[in-house]
């Protein structure tokens, strides 16, 4: 994965967010405050603006992190910003990122998310998606593993529907949070899907709306 690929991943994600903003807002409306799609789109639009100036994968991600940090706010802002910052740090000095390097970066990102937010698997947060998806690529650092990660991420996001939220805004609803998928898990799963589209020949975007609502 060279700097072009990394950019393609993020541009692809930003474009995808344009399409799913309403969906993410709607999920957040049901168990949170209705702004997750708006937050993500605002953040990635701004964060992707000057990526052309970044010379390496690490620099691209650093710019993304700073862009998110200064525009998103909310809970997702610091979490995604931390994730990209840690990945950027893991890739410092590298021109070409192998899938193994990718796995290292994702593990660092996941650790960052958990450190900042204190959530564990099962708390109905984006950690529920980052953990299994990262695990897929770590245990099988191949194109196949990346494709599996996208599948696992989707499944994990859908599985959050059954969970009672214990972190984030949805946790105030207690049992009433059951029945709706966690918006941050869905946005994370789409990030892994976009990654797979960038890296895996023949991968295509799968629609979300029907399954997730």
């Amino acid at each position: 994965m060279n700097v072009e690929h990394v950019r393609a991943w993020l541009y692809g994600y930003r474009d995808r967010l344009t399409a799913v903003q309403g969906l993410l807002d709607e999920l957040d409306n049901r168990i949170g405050d209705g702004d997750h799609g708006t937050n993500m789109l605002r953040g990635f639009r701004a964060a992707c603006e000057h990526l052309g100036e970044a010379a390496s994968p690490s620099e691209v991600l650093h710019k993304v992190s700073m862009g998110l940090l200064s525009t998103v706010g909310g809970a997702s802002g610091p979490l995604y910003a931390t994730a990209f910052l840690r990945m950027s740090q893991a890739w410092r000095g590298m021109e070409d990122i192998s899938i193994k390097d990718l796995a290292n970066g994702l593990n660092a990102a996941l650790a960052g998310i958990q450190q900042r937010g204190g959530a564990n698997v099962g708390d109905k947060t984006m950690v529920d998606v980052w953990a299994p998806a990262t695990e897929c690529i770590s245990s099988d650092p191949t194109e196949h593993g990346v494709r599996e990660a996208s599948r696992a991420a989707r499944q994990a996001a859908l599985n959050t529907r059954q969970l009672v939220a214990r972190r984030g805004r949805a946790s105030y609803l207690g049992e009433r949070s059951v029945g709706t998928c966690d918006p941050g898990s869905v946005s994370s799963a789409i990030l892994f899907e976009c990654l797979a589209i960038t890296l895996v020949e023949g991968m295509e975007a799968d629609p979300w709306t029907a399954q997730v609502l």
Binding site: D25, N29, G32, D33, G34, D35, T38, N39, R42, L69, S70, T71, V72, G73, G74, A75, S76, G77, P78, L79, R116, G117, G118, R166, R167, G168, R169, S171, Y172, L173, G174, R176
Partner: protein
């Protein structure tokens, strides 16, 4: 209202512009969504903030004896660390800065990141986290309670402490003390409408109320049938009394807070029943605040806040303050 703002991106900045134009003692930090005092006193700085949509919070509490800066995020979205950092830098007069944070994941993370950045620059920063909403069960498995209208008492009392020249540690001690003694709970009779999208924050069937709401248009902890105001007030007070073990001879400050679309007349009726109920319990009301202090856009509903006082808190509560929304 139901007016969609033609340019949602400008909603918050238009609002802050209108606000600072209306109050000569306030200013907006250029290029930010931070409202500050037009001039700072040599004292510990006080910074609060959070998502927008809670007006008059938080900019309405900027002024002599209260906050030095309020940081406004997008609607219901915590401000970014950069914005909070700008506020910290602006108010720091060399005596350190206290951050008043409402206990929401987003607020806590963004303010904490800003605090870390400020500390890196050598600014002494402390924080108080307000978690006064007794609707939410307090459990070690969750992130704990939300911060709601009780935060205004922290602004006032910690603000008075800073204004009289207390040290950062002392201001923090007092702020923590208020946070430990303040209890709130609210309910809604209708959702709020996001002015940027025109959407309702939840659906509520006719004849139902959402009990135990937050201040971001979230649904409540449970639903119940609509009841006369006296009973609704009772539901809230009962839970507050339970959680605060309020009893005879306690002295309190009482706040009846409108959520944005509740007529003041109805808030007075709530005040009447809340007062009567506290009287029955032998609780003495030292001071009452009735009005809009921490709203949720155009939500119809109200919250009740009780702050347990002692002589230290009473004198700080009574100290003069001049901020647009304090009276």
């Amino acid at each position: 209202m139901n007016v969609l703002h033609p340019n949602p991106d400008r909603f918050v900045t238009d609002m802050l512009d209108g606000f600072v134009r209306s109050y000569p003692g306030l200013a907006r930090l250029q290029g930010t969504q931070v409202v500050v005092r037009a001039q700072f006193d040599r004292k510990v700085g006080l910074v609060s903030g959070g998502g927008s949509g809670h007006e008059p919070a938080h900019a309405g509490y900027v002024g002599y004896g209260m906050l030095d800066a309020a940081v406004a995020g997008q609607i219901f979205t915590s401000p970014t660390p950069n914005e909070v950092l700008s506020a910290i830098r602006a108010v720091n007069q060399g005596f350190g800065v206290l951050l008043v944070i409402k206990n929401y994941t987003g607020d806590v993370m963004n303010f904490e990141m800003a605090a870390e950045m400020a500390q890196d620059e050598g600014i002494a920063v402390e924080k108080v986290i307000v978690a006064d909403d007794v609707a939410v069960e307090n459990s070690t498995f969750t992130i704990g309670r939300r911060g709601v209208a009780g935060t205004v008492f922290v602004h006032k009392i910690a603000g008075a402490s800073a204004q009289r020249g207390d040290s950062l540690q002392e201001v923090k001690r007092i702020a923590d003390k208020v946070a430990a003694r303040v209890f709130s709970m609210g309910l809604a009779l209708s959702p709020c409408t996001l002015p940027t999208t025109g959407k309702s924050s939840f659906e509520l069937p006719a004849g139902q109320v959402e009990i135990g709401i937050g201040i971001h248009g979230e649904p409540g902890v449970r639903r119940g049938p609509i009841a006369p105001l006296a009973e609704l007030v009772d539901t809230l007070i009962s839970r507050i009394v339970e959680e605060s073990s309020l009893g005879e001879n306690d002295e309190v400050a009482l706040m009846i807070n409108g959520m944005g679309a509740t007529p003041l007349g109805e808030l007075s009726i709530c005040a009447r029943y809340a007062t009567a109920r506290l009287d029955d319990l032998g609780v003495k009301i030292y001071k009452s605040l009735v009005g809009e202090y921490m709203t949720s856009l155009n939500m119809a509903g109200f919250s009740v806040t009780v702050l347990k006082l002692d002589s230290e808190l009473k004198s700080l509560l009574d100290a003069p303050a001049h901020a647009p929304a304090w009276r």
